[in-house]
């Protein structure tokens, strides 16, 4: 089967992730959209590994997963900290640095 289909699916998923990040105000959902973008990139990496016939793409995807896991831990801790001080998880309420 044509491997370009996987790349196009990856592009669609990445765009959905961008859309969610731009549109949603809830910090957690914005974060989930970032995860979706990372997953879309992973899909294209796995596809390229299959196309080129070496495993480097799969290892890159594995490293992306590790980095995403670390990023989620820190990001969610930041969200909890902000929620503690501002009593809100909306990205619009984090405006202390505005003025």
């Amino acid at each position: 089967m044509n491997p370009n289909a996987f790349i196009i699916l990856s592009a669609i998923l990445f765009s959905i992730g961008v859309l969610g990040f731009l549109v949603r105000r809830n910090a957690i959902i914005a974060f989930m959209s970032i995860e979706l973008m990372l997953n879309a990139a992973n899909l294209s990496l796995a596809t390229f590994a299959n196309v080129h016939g070496n495993l480097d793409g799969q290892i890159a995807a594995f490293f992306v997963m590790v980095v995403a896991a670390a990023e989620v831990v820190v990001g969610l801790a930041i969200i909890v900290t902000i929620f503690r001080t501002r009593r809100s998880a909306s990205v619009d309420d984090e405006n202390l640095l505005k003025h």
């Binding site: 044509n2 370009n4 592009a11 669609i12 859309l19 979706l36 896991a69 503690r84």
Partner: protein, 289 residues
């Protein structure tokens, strides 16, 4: 000629639309929990796609790391900051949503046009790269030879992230925590000055009947031990304060025992009779010898 339908194609056309539907559901659902559910489904579908791309290690890692750990963390955070926060749909910047949708459609068109037909050769497949060792072993060889320094760096990254999470998630302590030595000093001082009991407080619950925390224990004289219940529960008013209610089951059981004993009087030998019977038995035994 009938086109050859591979298992990869079947997996793609089943799981691909599902991922897109789940992604759109994640972006559009109002409640964060529904979004999390959609994202978890999307990640499982992606794991299936990895499996169809000859990446069994990524397939398992995706399910364990993403749907297992990461989504659990998301849901846990939702639990901490309130599960019923519905996203308000008011636009802070006017026209932002329309602009975002237009921009994303443009990005999608750009990506598909730019890289959507970028692969001109057919898939080589991983059979040669994997060889006879299998996917996981081949990946392990690569990770521990060519990619060993990035791998070490991820170890440092994970430790740093764990530390950062602990530092960020710990709340500020408002007053100094009382530890065992301070508590003993305080209790002894209170005992000397006020005569309060220095030992631990009595447990809640009536012996052998109820030991739930809303049941105060009874003192030997039948009155309620006020210390045995948590003050918070008493303030909420959910503590059993009726002494009769606590005592009644015990009294009823006691009465039933007494009644049965009265009924059986003469049928069942009393304690004295048993004792004398035993003595007789011993006597006859000795005689037999």
């Amino acid at each position: 000629m009938i086109p050859l339908v591979t298992a990869q194609a079947v997996a793609f056309w089943v799981l691909g639309p599902l991922t897109v539907i789940a992604g759109i559901g994640m972006v559009t659902s109002r409640k964060p929990v529904h979004s999390a559910l959609c994202l978890a489904g999307l990640m499982v579908c992606l794991a299936g796609l990895y499996a169809s791309l000859d990446a069994p290690f990524l397939f398992v890692a995706q399910i364990i790391v993403y749907t297992g750990a990461v989504m659990m963390l998301f849901v846990f955070t939702m639990m901490v900051i309130g599960i019923d926060t519905v996203d308000e749909m008011i636009e802070t910047i006017k026209g932002q949503r329309i602009a975002a949708i237009v921009g994303v459609v443009g990005l999608l068109a750009l990506l598909i046009l730019a890289v959507g037909h970028g692969i001109v050769s057919d898939s080589v497949g991983l059979d040669q790269a994997v060889g006879t060792e299998g996917n996981v072993k081949s990946i392990a060889y690569l990770v521990f030879s060519k990619y060993v320094f990035p791998f070490e760096a991820t170890a440092a990254l994970l430790i740093t992230a764990a530390l950062a999470a602990m530092v960020l998630a710990h709340g500020e302590q408002l007053f100094k925590k009382e530890r065992q030595p301070e508590r003993i000093v305080r209790r002894t001082k209170e005992f000397g000055e006020l005569g309060t009991q220095p030992g631990p407080l009595p447990n809640p619950g009536v012996y052998a009947r109820h030991n739930s925390v809303d049941n105060p224990s009874l003192l030997p004289d039948g009155s309620i031990a006020e210390d045995s219940i948590i003050p918070t529960l008493a303030d909420r008013g959910i503590v059993v304060v009726d002494r009769d209610r606590l005592v009644t089951p015990t009294m009823r059981a006691n009465k039933a025992i007494v009644d049965v004993r009265d009924d059986q009087k003469g049928v069942v030998p009393s304690d004295e009779q048993i004792a004398s019977d035993k003595a007789d038995e011993n006597g006859t035994k000795e005689v037999n010898r």
